[in-house]
Symmetry: C2
Subunit: 472 residues, 2 copies
């Protein structure tokens, strides 16, 4: 027998070893493969639901099916053109106030040459306060009037909720900008009249000191800049990269198409066939519908977030050569609901911190109470943004925002639990409460209320107990 | 006017910053929150499908619905008791061979005292070869006979596929153990008769040298040890932790219940209502069914893997004080299909490497060809394990295994692509080919063939074109 190179006696088992999944195994394995598996299972199961949807409904996407009336378009265009006038009015008010300040400064200088007595200073303060009262009244009156009239038109005269949402969003954004313009210029004027060396103005404002910033071009820059916070000057980039702008525009286009397809093909039939379950208050079915809707609404929400905060605002910032592009922080990793609300929408967060939270805390309000005030204002604006275009002030968006307060308390407590588990749990609570339950449930309720208002529910389900709940 | 602590002039935008999702942003954010979201979406969407399933079918789980006949149980028990006899027969053969070897050694020693000539050595080699031919024939004949008779009984006399699978699996495991026992003892005998200082036996065998290892108690240890590779001695633990064993037993129990519920409540109706689509060769529906089945089959597969390779084998190893518990490596992260097949089932991999691959390569076969031989043997065993209990040797399991060879070539090429992407793609190809397509498709085909064979398809769908394809 020829000598073989190999013998069947090799010791396969020569040492003690643990299975890697046994708790306390020396090397805990990576589970990155399961992340890939989850992605694939999500893709596969949703592709399957798309096949199912196609077999049931065919293609529902249709360009000519959007029934917006001519009246909607006319009112929408009128609002689009008239809402910015609020800023011009604010500019005119500030122009007058600046003139007043300049002449007051001249008077003070003259008086100062004579005698800078406490009596003179008190008189100057009184004069500033008197003028601010008039200025504040003018700003407040026309801002309130503008927001009210816009909301009134959206609520009563624009039927299509899409056009209504755009108009209402525009009105709220301009309203916030006008408020910031008024507050900031008030304190700049105050700083001019009562300079305080211990509290110098930010360095960046030196390039455009008050009252030089009260100019039409400065206002127009603020009008289009991707921020809600007025500053006389902003960090700027050197030049506009048009290729970058084109890429962002392409992203907005593609994402809008994706959202449109998702809503028309997947959300619309789901909402439609949930009307019956809502009408009969069949809770298990409503839960099932919310769960099914959650995937579509989550998809639309993520696409919408990216389209608005990443693509649109970055594109606009590039055109405006606006250099501070922190429009959001990585909110998807938040471990408490509080962090979510301070990171996902930096323009509004910055506004609220600068013009609501900090002034209140600076005036001695406890921080927790100031936060509640911020959430209250935010809740009112949310209700306005959802309720006015859908013609139903249900209070669901308002309550949804106010419900964030106990949730914040709860997830803050959870975060203090030691170790990574509390953070993961907090993150999951955020996703469940916000994306998997809150949004689809809200969408169902406003959709149902819409159909209850316009009669399609009462026609289809005349005995519906839910109609009494929405007061029809 | 009292001096306020706060002024609305704080510079929110004081520096240039990038949005964190912009490509090339200074700090790429973590996306760990999206991992949590994926887990939640998977849980939510599957909970929804469970509600849908419950509404459609009610509760399908039923203890008394399993229709195994008395004949199945009797044959199953008979096989369970008779299959291990193969090991006792192998032991008797080795006992005789060991006696022969001992007397040959005595003769050689006597001859060695006279003259250790090349002629004497050649004569001894001839004698060893002659005896090995007889031993190999005996082992081969009874091993083949045993596997054939077990498969025959499972195929023709055990109707219930569950009982059939257990019997066939048992038969294959014992067959592999008997092969390893014969091969290893052959080479140990050879090493005794022709000691070669350049190739010493593994140190761990010193505690039980040949022929002392040919004992009934040593065989019984190998019979129950969680390995397919025979060694005279194994690494051992000091004591049995019964609490550990109880935990593993509990895991097996819970996971078995989970698999049972998943099959009865979710897989069974899915398979049942896919018969019609299969019968009419409606490919889009078949794809849709495969996609839906993939989640259930993946769940069952992962539970089954854990129950068998982690819980059962670790529990058995603890009872046997078997210390080498590397029954698998983290196969879920593999980036090529080759790695998967060498890591998910270490007992079989160890057997194939020691008794098939290495001997073939040692005898001069190119490694690639030796791998193909290993896959061929594995494919035959897979077909036996699936085809015999389902009474249909379709060749699908065989072809599925053989198809791994081109897939290995492809993912090996992909792995060489630079960067992490090739690894992620390889991992995804593994999951898709194996868990999301291969397994559910195989399950559908064997299920259809079963119903075609036992007439339920031809009764329900007499015009089915697919019946011709499976030859009924």
């Amino acid at each position: 027998m020829p000598k073989t190179k190999y013998r069947h006696v090799f010791a396969t088992h020569s040492q003690s070893r643990q299975s890697c999944l046994t708790p306390g195994a020396p090397q805990s394995p990576s589970f990155v493969g399961f992340r890939n598996l989850m992605i694939l299972v999500l893709v596969f199961s949703n592709l399957r639901l798309m096949i199912e949807n196609y077999r049931k409904y065919g293609v529902l996407i249709c360009l000519s099916c959007h029934d917006y009336s001519r009246q909607d378009v006319i009112y929408g265009l009128a609002l689009y053109l008239s809402i910015p006038c609020q800023l011009f009015l604010a500019y005119l008010i500030e122009l007058v106030a600046a003139q007043q300040a300049k002449s007051a400064l001249a008077r003070m200088k003259k008086a100062g040459e004579e005698q800078n007595t406490p009596e003179n200073q008190a008189a100057a303060r009184r004069s500033f306060k008197k003028i601010w009262k008039i200025v504040a009244f003018c700003h407040g009156a026309h801002a309130t009037f503008n927001l009210t009239i816009s909301s009134y038109i959206v609520y009563y005269h624009i039927h299509h909720p899409g056009i209504g949402t755009l108009c209402e969003l525009h009105a709220v954004v301009v309203w916030l900008k006008a408020c910031s313009y008024a507050f900031t210029n008030r304190d700049l004027r105050h700083a001019l009249l009562h300079p305080d060396q211990s509290e110098p103005l930010p360095e960046i404002y030196a390039s455009c000191p008050y009252p030089r910033n009260i100019s039409f071009s400065n206002l127009c820059y603020f009008w289009w800049a991707p921020t809600l916070v007025y500053q006389p000057a902003y960090p700027r980039t050197d030049r506009i990269r048009w290729g970058y702008v084109a890429m962002r525009a392409l992203e907005v286009f593609v994402l809008s198409i994706a959202i449109w397809i998702a809503s028309a093909q997947y959300a619309a039939p789901l909402l439609q066939n949930s009307l019956e379950k809502m009408a009969s208050l069949d809770f298990v079915s409503i839960v099932e519908r919310v769960m099914k809707l959650s995937t579509v609404s989550l998809f639309c929400w993520l696409c919408g977030f990216f389209a608005l905060f990443q693509s649109s605002l970055n594109g606009l910032a590039e055109i405006m050569r606006f250099a501070d592009r922190e429009f959001y922080e990585p909110w998807w990793n938040v471990s408490s609901v509080r962090e979510y609300w301070t990171t996902w929408n930096k323009p509004v967060t910055n506004f609220m911190r600068r013009h609501v939270y900090s002034p209140l805390v600076g005036r001695g309000m406890p921080p927790a109470l100031a936060q509640i005030v911020v959430f209250f204002i935010s809740a009112v604006l949310h209700e306005l943004l959802v309720g006015a275009p859908t013609h139903n002030m249900l209070g669901v968006a308002f309550m949804g925002m106010m419900f964030q307060i106990p949730l914040i308390v709860f997830t803050d407590m959870l975060k203090k639990v030691k170790g990574i588990r509390g953070e993961v749990a907090g993150n999951m609570i955020f996703w469940i409460s916000f994306c998997l339950v809150g949004q689809p449930l809200g969408a169902l309720l406003y959709f149902f209320a819409w159909h209850a208002k316009y009669g399609s529910v009462s026609k289809q389900f005349p005995q519906s107990p839910a109609l009494h709940l929405v007061g029809r």
